[in-house]
Symmetry: C2
Subunit: 248 residues, 2 copies
């Protein structure tokens, strides 16, 4: 995600070597920092695809880093190159000249860590949102959120941009389509539409741009010409796509 | 890997529902069985990309399954759908009408399981080759092998096809290219060429077809028009490619 808040910041990013492929080495990537928003499989397994000997900072809450510790396969991220940094919620820190604040969200433990019964929703740092601020503007990145709360509503009000959990269009769509036995809420995701939905919640939150991310392949709004996509557009929502650049 | 030993077997495979996308369900894959040849990251992480609720048999030695057990993230393969089956070496078993025999190879523990020093080469079942037999012919699949041994030479002699570890062209190529500090042997792979190499070893082993697999992106023989590829061809070796079908 490349955030361009202003021409000045754009220039600053252009001059930051860490954000571009590194010259002079045969194998390299421009990735200088990774901030994990949780420890679900789809959030952490991409780490195993990164270059073995590429230095970067790996940020996550204590709960998330503990899951990596419990899985020796992540030792593939050699500590000689990858520094794990525990992030406290609600305390701003700087990464590459950008101010970042992590905050706890209503969510659930990773599916693979569930022990039998429905673990229910927690808000203890297992799932986080992040506020990214630069050039006087703030973008929120929230790929998983089980429900809207008064505290979250207050936090998001006035943001230049919110990228939000768009897993399912309707809470029961996976069950109806025969794709799985669970509702979105059981998986820790509030639905785009219906009672207690994202569209409903954001109708009362003033935000510059609203962009859905983390969209499941059962979600009909993935199709650009669907009536469901039109419904999102009418409510002021965009749907993210690969390679998207966001100017705020 | 689809092995067609004869028109009869081809017909049998065509009629085996497990080898084709499954009709009548929204989400499915034709994968009915997975046999792990070890527990290195590049061997096991693909499991995390498989469909969550797709039934298949997961075969591996006790050492390999123990690594999965030690990494809770692999609980993403729900035991309700994925049955783990411990494979003993040198005892043939049947999978989908094909006879399979696993055997220990000289190899090493996964990189992420190394504790500081060079763990050296072991031959205890952490790395295996597999013999796949049907229609009276046998194919060997050996993606990692640290050295040729008299026992392996004897086992492979007379095979219809051997698919063999082609990680590096020369033992020190990663060091020379600045891509990493290790030799192929330090990583548990014998080189294609040079002293103690695969070309040298197979010069004395009668085999129907010889196909290199598991080729590192530093290996110049990956390029079809390279002199190194010509050297392999002259020695009777092919290089595997995506979508390859093998008729024996």
């Amino acid at each position: 995600m490349l955030v361009n808040a202003s021409p000045d910041l754009r220039q600053q990013i252009a001059e930051t070597p860490a954000l571009h492929p590194r010259a002079g080495t045969l194998r390299n990537s421009p990735i200088a920092a990774v901030l994990l928003t949780g420890a679900e499989v789809d959030t952490i397994m991409g780490l195993l695809h990164l270059r073995e000997r590429q230095a970067f900072g790996l940020f996550g809450t204590a709960q998330t880093l503990a899951v990596l510790d419990e899985n020796p396969i992540f030792r593939a991220l050699n500590p000689e190159f990858v520094t794990r940094r525990a992030v406290a919620t609600d305390i701003a820190f700087e990464v590459l000249g950008i101010t970042v604040t992590a905050y706890a969200l209503p969510g659930k433990v990773p599916l693979f860590a569930e022990a039998g019964e429905d673990p229910g929703v927690t808000e203890d740092g297992a799932t986080i949102g992040i506020a990214v601020s630069a050039g006087g503007k703030t973008l929120h990145y929230i790929p998983g959120c089980a429900m809207m709360t008064p505290a979250l509503r207050q936090r998001l009000a006035g943001a230049a941009c919110v990228m939000f959990d768009g897993t399912l269009f309707t809470d029961d769509e996976m069950i109806r389509m025969g794709a799985g036995p669970k509702t979105g809420r059981r998986m820790g995701h509030m639905p785009m539409t219906g009672a207690g939905s994202t569209l409903e919640a954001f109708a009362e939150i003033p935000v510059g741009r609203r962009i859905f991310i983390h969209i499941n392949n059962t979600n009909p709004a993935l199709l650009a010409d669907s009536p469901e996509r039109a419904q999102l557009s009418a409510a002021g929502w965009e749907v993210a796509e690969d390679g998207m650049e966001i100017d705020l």
